[in-house]
Symmetry: C2
């Protein structure tokens, strides 16, 4: 045990500068894409994450929704905080503290404004170091929580085929999945329900459309898995 510190805790708030930095994610052709905005020419990097300070009385996710609406023209379907940083790395607005928020949006929803563009996660241009950290955190968080939170469904339109859904899982996890196993596990989860519609695209048998409709789970109680200790 260490020595007891002499100074007691006299808690007090401190004023600081805060930004909400949004990682808008959407599935593009065979890759997850991030929405970046063109930075003013005075900036060190030509691109940055969309960001802003929350307005007075505005919640953090509300701010993320507003920012996303401005750059994409559509509100995201889902938010996930990916961590709050105060690490001294450079931020485009020199905010002391950044709240990183992943905003998930289905493909084909919205249209980036003139100064915004989609970039595949794997090939981003140079952005401020703080923003780079936030993007990396967002990717890690999304991959880590994909099977504990309905993230994948928020990257799809309300009606989707099981192949679409599997494709999103494969994008998020970065590896191929086994079709029959995927469907069996999905069936057992009672997360989706079939609709009376079918979707035909080009050749091949049309696929039935499903919607996200989680049912009350019977107490599954699976065992401990000691998984993903990849730190």
């Amino acid at each position: 045990m260490r020595d007891r510190p002499v100074v007691l805790l006299k808690p007090a708030v401190r004023r600081t500068t805060l930004a909400v930095d949004v990682v808008v994610l959407s599935p593009r052709v065979d890759a997850l894409a991030v929405l970046l905005v063109r930075a003013p020419s005075s900036a060190r990097e030509r691109w940055s994450l969309p960001w802003d300070a929350p307005q007075v009385g505005e919640g953090l996710e509300d701010a993320a929704a507003r920012i996303t609406r401005v750059v994409l023209g559509a509100a995201p379907a889902f938010f996930e905080q990916v961590g709050t940083l105060s690490d001294g790395r450079r931020h485009p607005g020199d905010a002391e503290v950044s709240v990183g928020i992943a905003a998930l949006s289905p493909a084909g929803v919205g249209q980036p404004i003139m100064d915004a563009e989609w970039f595949p996660l794997a090939s981003l241009p140079a952005i401020a170091p703080r923003h780079r950290t936030i993007v990396d955190h967002a990717a890690a968080v999304v991959r880590q929580r994909v099977d504990q939170s309905p993230l994948a469904f928020r990257l799809l339109p309300p009606a989707f085929t099981l192949s679409d859904l599997q494709g999103v899982y494969e994008l998020l996890l970065g590896r191929r999945l086994h079709k029959a196993s995927f469907r069996r596990a999905l069936q057992a989860s009672y997360l989706v329900e079939p609709m009376d519609e079918w979707h035909s695209e080009g050749r091949g048998r049309p696929a039935q459309l499903f919607r996200y409709a989680p049912k009350k789970r019977r107490g599954v109680r699976r065992g401990v898995r000691f998984d993903l200790f990849t730190d």
Copy 2:
């Protein structure tokens, strides 16, 4: 798609008041316990989470470590951000924004200062609404990430028995686990290694001591599980 908003994004930081609110967690007799500090008599509630503003240039986890050292006399073994809140709920210091951080500490490490006390998670006294939300988030996050992060090991001393470890998992998950299955899964995970020491407590066969020593994992690649969609 919605109408394109008229206002473009002119991002700017805003000054706000920030607090780091720490949920110090430690296993006590058959329950996870939270460390609360006695609030000044002027406060609405008699107890609160330990909290403070981060100092200039101090990272958020550094602040959490400092706060924990003051109230417990020992640095926590591990931190996990449990969410940043700006929801308008009441905070003891009226901070606009709170960063909630869970700090894990093994049993028997440190000694609470005079004005601090351990409370079982299940029976907390009245605390400010913002703090209540943070505690609930912390409990949920710890339960959700226990098998993806070495949380359980940070609630134990460096050397522990497998029964101790299983006990911590049972505390975190809130249910009993099967002994043989637990040990098999642990064996397969290469997360612990046996030491040449044994621990005897009262009657019964002495238990071998283990240490947390994660090995490089062979690419396990387990399937998608669609688990814990309990939102």
